[in-house]
């Protein structure tokens, strides 16, 4: 039997820059590419058919069957969302369940499934080992927020693996610091309040490497769970220094929910619970399995991912100087005219 090559691919959650980039990279490699999301795509892509569909509705299963999809790339998993916890839970758990039901139907033609998960599944705490390996997860432990949702999600996926013949790849993507993520917003503050007495290690993933991992997992047969993150670590204080800010170790390290509330009220920064834990204790994954089995190698280190964010900030500052406003110009010209009049008199 010749090795399976994806022909009809569906990408869920395609309408964000990350999904768009995955679609752009996959389009030339596959026969027919479909994308679905609840919002309009961020950029038009020739060669991709866009469908308005919500993974939270069972209709997604019908879509998979009727389009005779053979590979599903499930990116509609929200980790870092400004929306409320309820919506995140609906998207991550109910959405994934619907997708899995669609893939598991008796007449299903799905042969490969790639699911985006996150480093958030490991949580962060003082009692954890210095590196998280793929198998070191205790699915029974109590967790909250995104971590709990992801644990439920991966539990659903592992149950699906047992009863289905499709090859399933789960990619636990590391923290990304592209413009607009909560972590990037937090690190970009001019004065960054940190937890007093803690300077954790941060492991970051460059957007290009994340896309590369998804594309690789989609194109070839690599069933299993993989940690995807950049090489090396940066310390929190170092990251703040790279961004040109000042670290202010003022938050009490205990009762982190109170600090989070304070941050939101005083500075308008939303630091989700799982990120507060990261900023206190740090979380680093062991990516050796992805490097040996998936053949994926990060082309950017954590430090380079951080530098990329800092560069982006500088470019923004240079390119967007505030233009003189209409009103100010008028005032200036008026003053000038008056002065000239006075001189001539």
């Amino acid at each position: 039997m010749p090795p399976f090559k994806p022909r009809r691919v569906l990408i869920t959650g395609v309408s964000n820059p990350f999904g768009a980039e995955v679609a752009r990279r996959l389009a030339p490699q596959v026969h027919q590419l479909f994308g679905c999301d609840i919002a309009d795509p961020v950029s038009a892509l020739e060669g991709m058919d866009f469908v308005h569909a919500d993974t939270r509705q069972p209709v997604i299963g019908k879509l998979i069957r009727q389009l005779r999809i053979d590979t599903v790339v499930h990116l509609a998993v929200s980790i870092d969302s400004p929306r409320d916890e309820r919506a995140v839970h609906e998207t991550d758990v109910i959405g994934t369940m619907n997708v899995l039901v669609g893939c598991a139907a008796p007449s299903s033609s799905v042969r490969r499934l790639v699911v985006k998960s996150s480093q958030a599944i490991y949580g962060a705490g003082p009692h954890d080992p210095s590196f998280f390996a793929e198998d070191s997860i205790n699915f029974e432990r109590s967790a909250s927020g995104v971590t709990r949702d992801l644990l439920e999600l991966e539990q659903l996926v592992s149950e699906f693996v047992l009863r289905s013949e499709a090859a399933v790849t789960v990619l636990r993507l590391g923290w990304r610091v592209t413009e607009g993520t909560s972590l990037a917003r937090y690190l970009s503050l001019p004065v960054v309040p940190t937890f007093a007495g803690f300077d954790p290690r941060l492991q970051l993933l460059h957007e290009d490497d994340a896309v590369e991992a998804i594309v690789r997992a989609t194109a070839d047969h690599h069933p299993g769970v993989f940690n995807i993150a950049g090489d090396g670590v940066v310390l929190l204080s170092q990251a703040i220094g790279i961004m040109g800010g000042t670290a202010a170790p003022i938050l009490p390290p205990f009762g982190r929910w109170l600090s989070r509330l304070g941050l939101r009220l005083s500075m308008g920064v939303d630091l989700p619970a799982h990120l507060a834990d990261i900023v206190a204790f740090g979380s680093v994954m062991d990516t050796s399995r992805a490097q040996t089995e998936l053949g994926w190698k990060p082309s950017h280190t954590s430090r380079q991912a951080m530098d990329a964010l800092a560069r982006g900030k500088q470019v923004e500052l240079i390119e967007a100087p505030s233009p003189p406003q209409e009103y100010e110009l008028q005032v200036y010209l008026q003053q000038r005219r008056r002065r000239e009049l006075r001189l001539s008199n």
Binding site: G125, P126, H127, D128, P129, S130, F131, A133, S136, F195, A196, G197, F198, D199, P200, R201, G232, V233, V234, L235, S237, Q238, A239, I240, G241, I242, P253, F281, G282, V284, R303
Partner: protein, 343 residues
Amino acid sequence: MIETSPRERRKNSQRAEIVAPRQGFRLPKPVRRLQRQAPMYALQAVGTLATRLRELTGREVIDLNKVMAVVQFIYQQRELARRGPNYAVDDFGFDPQWTEAFIGVFKALYRDYWRVETTGVEHVPATGRALLVANHAGVLPWDGTMIKTAVFTEHPQPRHVRALVASQFMGMPVMSWFLRRTGQAVGHPDDTRRLLERDEPVLVFPEGTRGTGKGFHQRYRLRRFGRGGFVATAIRARAPIIPISVVGSEEIYPMVGDLRPVARLLGLPYFPVTPFWPWLGPLGMIPLPSKWRIQFHAPIDVQDLPAGAAEDQHLVMALSDQVRDTIQRGIYDNLKLRRGVFL
């Protein structure tokens, strides 16, 4: 564009004023020059003073080596401040430059405060992995810092020993930050394996908090060595085991009592009561200047054992007992060699 002749442009450029950004108040130039040269003058003055005093009294009053050590410490701190975010830490968060800048403090404690006498440091291999196993005592893990200092300063090939600490410390503010920066990792079998695979010398205290939290009347007596997990890890990683006996750490905080309810309330493994703590407040945290001896024993080689030996519980426990006996015997030997607790 306004057309100008080259001549005119040159004239304009000469007129141009270089505007440096003014940074608030600046001292007058001679004062600044003096400021810059003050450390040099001060050192010269100290040197002259040392010579005079030596001539006057006929012995060494000011130890210039110590003065230079202080100067070096200050210089290193300035270097640290200057590097900004441009430094690299390893995956465990270890920052060698930062650690070496602060080792001066621990060297002072090592040489002058506890007057540590170290023997057998050459048993630590100059390269490659090794598992150092030591006894643990004295409420706060000062013994770990002294073993690290001993290997870094006394070994012909200075190496940074990576100690494994109880995860409780990683949850404490300042403590976790300091431990990570200076190269420590969590006492988890996974961390031990990874450090050994990177060919680092790893220091473990199998007694854990049972050792540091024991009362003063139980001093010099080793506690249970867990389930011998460290031996299994060493066999799997094919790393020699080097037992270390530390004498002196037991007397730095003579712990006469343990307030269990307070410890439970604060989430600590124990809450010590010594003749000075908590009665004297922060002063009670100053360790007593006992005389220390550290002995590194000959390595126990486990490289030749078969791969399945790590699962052989009998063998693992036997080796664990052997290590424990070596350390215990070393403690009694060194106690005999020590003239007194504070001498």
